[in-house]
């Protein structure tokens, strides 16, 4: 089963970086890809993300999201083509030969371009965030967020939300199987679809609530919320972190210069 957004334990350069360094990386990448509108540049950023993933031996994990990305791309491009006609018309979704409705929904260069740019932006963001989450040990993330001044309850909430994704996935799968064995029939039509959700969602939510009770008690009993902590194996800023910061600074400055010259936007 694909493990969505779960930390993958490996010992690579990427894993050894300080969480702050990775957060800085995410911020720079996000700002760059939101400002840039040049598809070639955005595509290059996407490829760079994959190259970084490969350097952290996380390429396979990154590509897990490919299916989601393809579906998302198709939806984005379809929406922009339909809702934002602009520029030259390349053709029509409904061929002009069709009587009465022929020539509806023109496919325009402008619409297509906006769709492609939006899609590429999302792809870069998804890859960057995923890379951050799967290469950073939750403990390090907790320490970093705590140091940055986030209240510990929120930090724990964030960590737990991520941690239980696969648990819920597996549990949902089991419930689905149990109901299939009872002749569960995913309904048809709108009302049918809504009704057919109950046999899966009710057990899933009831079990999750029970589990959250034990989880809450565990957190209290282990003293995670008291905030008094001995710092062990804390990540400290190393030469590699400064090096990455330098690279980010150069990339950032270069980007700003290009944007000011009117390139990339």
């Amino acid at each position: 089963m694909a493990e969505i957004l779960q930390y993958v334990h490996k010992d690579t350069f990427l894993h050894q970086l300080h969480p702050y360094t990775k957060i800085a990386f995410i911020i720079i990448v996000s700002v760059m890809c939101i400002i840039a509108t040049d598809p070639a540049f955005l595509a290059l950023m996407g490829v760079t993300m994959l190259a970084i993933a490969a350097s952290g031996k996380l390429l396979a994990e990154s590509l897990h999201q490919l299916k989601l990305i393809i579906v998302m791309s198709v939806v984005f491009i379809a929406i922009t083509v339909i809702t934002m006609p602009n520029g030259e018309t390349l053709g029509h979704v409904v061929p002009q030969a069709v009587p009465f409705i022929g020539g509806l929904i023109p496919i325009t260069t402008g619409g297509l371009m906006i769709g492609i740019v939006l899609t590429l932006r999302f792809i870069v963001l998804i890859f960057a965030f995923q890379l951050f989450l799967i290469s950073t040990q939750p403990r390090d993330l907790v320490h970093a967020m705590e140091k940055a001044g986030f209240p510990i309850d929120y930090v724990l909430m964030f960590i737990i939300a991520l941690r239980f994704i696969p648990t819920l996935q597996i549990e949902g799968q089991r419930i689905h199987e149990a109901q299939l064995a009872r002749g569960y029939n995913p309904g048809t039509g709108f009302v049918g679809k809504i009704r057919s959700v109950a046999p899966i969602v009710i057990p899933l939510v009831s079990n999750a609530l029970l589990r959250s009770n034990v989880l809450g008690l565990t957190i209290d009993m282990r003293g995670y919320r008291t905030g008094k902590r001995t710092h062990v194996r804390e990540r400290v800023f190393m030469k590699r972190d400064y090096a990455v910061f330098a690279v980010l600074a150069v990339a950032g400055c270069g980007f700003v210069a290009l944007v000011l010259k009117g390139i990339l936007v």
Binding site: R163, A181, T218
Partner: protein
């Protein structure tokens, strides 16, 4: 170390007390094992003794709970209490917050005000006694049930308290994993830890238990040295159930027609081969037990019988039809599958509606009478109007079986139907299955309990690493 003086407790918004006048004393270095039917209040007792009821639940508490010479109300917070009492809850998964084993234990150690060197030393020590070293980088969803229980125990040990309360730490484990947990606990006791253990499996823990406590209906009905209590036949039946009386005089005739035929079945999850070239024939009216350790392929095999899984290679023939040509809904009429955790299926508002769900899905005739009969067979007629999740574990297990029985499949497959049940409840379930067999159903159970397999089934199939390694009924 822990003392309960005449403790009664009623949960908020309920009328019936969950605990009634309980007095119990746990001395330093001793081990108390609490046993009894599901729903007797064992978990409530564990929550009371750890001060959790007092600090977290509200409700009505009478009597006194003393932990380490102080009343629990003297402790300001649960975290303060946790410095004295460690609790391992039954749901191991919910006690893992981080994504690797080592992280989990290290994080628990960090909050104790120890020096960094001391933390590393304790970490190494705990990993060693719980045998977690080779698993240190694994994530929770890549651990087996027994491994998860060891992590939950290790993280609790990290808190360094002398008193440990464990709520059914082995309920879903096979024999091998249970023995391992028992060994770890015996080691802790030898180190001087004080243990309160809620368990059904007395036989694996008998060496270390000093006092046996039997709970029924929220109160302690027997308490004393195990060897004294076990002279009482009723208590013996509860903690050391004897299944040998189930043996039928004559085994099922081997001439009956085959209902399931498995030919050269293989199944792979990705690159892992879970089943390898399995051949098997099960005849109508047989009672078959499938045994083997966790991960040996038992559940994978039975999921092929109603096509929840499709073969990677080979064929499965059910009632003369190749499952490849049938839909899951079609096969639900022939094969009923009861999963290990009954809570994976309940969603209706009443017990009756829960049973009606499957009956309606298959459009079975005369539904009312069918449901009534299923309720009666499961001994749940009186509970028909209750919310399924309010039932005890034993009742929920019988309800899960009733839900499947009401769909009238000829073949009924059950995955670990006696998990979390005491001796009498387990017997009730087996009795129910025996009756179904007499009515002509074919019964297939997956079980860790060798006594049940040996004495209740006509035929025992043993699996190991995705293969059948022995079959007492080899047809």
């Amino acid at each position: 170390m822990i003392e309960l003086k005449n403790v009664s407790y009623t949960y908020p918004h309920t009328v019936q007390p969950a605990l009634h006048r309980i007095s119990l004393s746990l001395e330093k270095g001793r081990c108390i094992m609490i046993t009894g039917p599901s729903g007797a209040g064992k978990t409530s007792l564990c929550l009371a003794a750890s001060g959790i009821l007092h600090h977290e639940y509200g409700g009505k508490m009478e009597g006194e709970v003393i932990v380490d010479n102080k009343n629990v109300s003297v402790y300001k917070t649960l975290s303060d209490l946790a410095r004295n009492v460690g609790v391992v809850f039954d749901d191991a998964e919910a006690q893992m917050i981080f994504t690797t084993v080592e992280e989990e234990i290290l994080s628990a150690l960090e909050h104790r005000g120890l020096s960094a060197e001391e933390i590393e030393k304790r970490l190494a020590e705990i990993m060693k006694i719980t045998y977690l070293n080779e698993l240190k980088d694994r994530s929770p969803h890549n651990l087996s049930g027994g491994q998860k229980q060891r992590v939950a125990l290790a993280a609790t040990l990290a808190l360094g308290n002398d008193i440990l309360l464990l709520d059914e730490p082995t309920s879903e484990l096979d024999e091998h994993a249970t023995v391992r947990i028992a060994g770890i606990l015996a080691g802790l006791k030898a180190q001087g830890k004080t243990l309160l253990l809620i368990e059904h499996k007395y036989s694996q823990f008998r060496e270390m238990v000093d006092t046996l406590v039997v709970m029924e209906n929220g109160t302690v009905t027997a308490k004393g040295k195990p060897e004294d209590l076990l002279r009482d036949e009723r208590i013996r039946g509860m903690v050391l159930p004897d299944f040998s009386t189930f043996r039928k005089a004559a085994p099922a005739p081997v001439t009956a027609e085959p209902v399931i035929t498995v030919n050269n079945l293989s199944h792979s999850y990705g690159t892992i081969e879970a089943l390898h070239d399995v051949n098997l024939m099960i005849r109508k009216g047989e009672f078959v037990a499938i045994v083997g350790e966790n991960g040996s392929g038992k559940t994978t095999l039975v999921k092929h019988f109603n096509r929840l899984l499709s073969p990677s290679g080979g064929d499965v023939i059910v009632n003369g039809r190749n499952v490849k040509e049938c839909s899951i809904a079609d096969l639900a009429r022939d094969v009923g599958l009861v999963f290990q955790n009954p809570d994976h299926m309940f969603f209706a508002d009443t017990v009756r509606d829960e049973i009606a769900y499957g009956v309606k899905n298959l459009a079975i005739q005369d539904a009312g009478a069918v449901i009534d009969a299923a309720l009666k067979d499961a001994g749940l007629t009186e509970s028909a109007g209750l919310y399924p999740r309010w039932l005890s574990r034993g009742e929920r297990q019988r309800l899960a079986i009733a839900c499947v029985v009401a769909m009238q499949p000829g073949i009924i497959v059950l995955d670990e139907p006696t998990t979390g049940l005491d001796g009498y409840e387990a017997r009730d379930v087996i009795m129910m299955l025996r009756n179904l067999q007499e009515k002509g159903h074919t019964i297939i159970i997956i079980t860790h309990n060798r006594d049940i397999a040996r004495h209740c089934a006509d035929r025992v199939i043993t699996m190991e690493n995705g293969r059948i390694i022995s079959d007492t009924g080899g047809a």
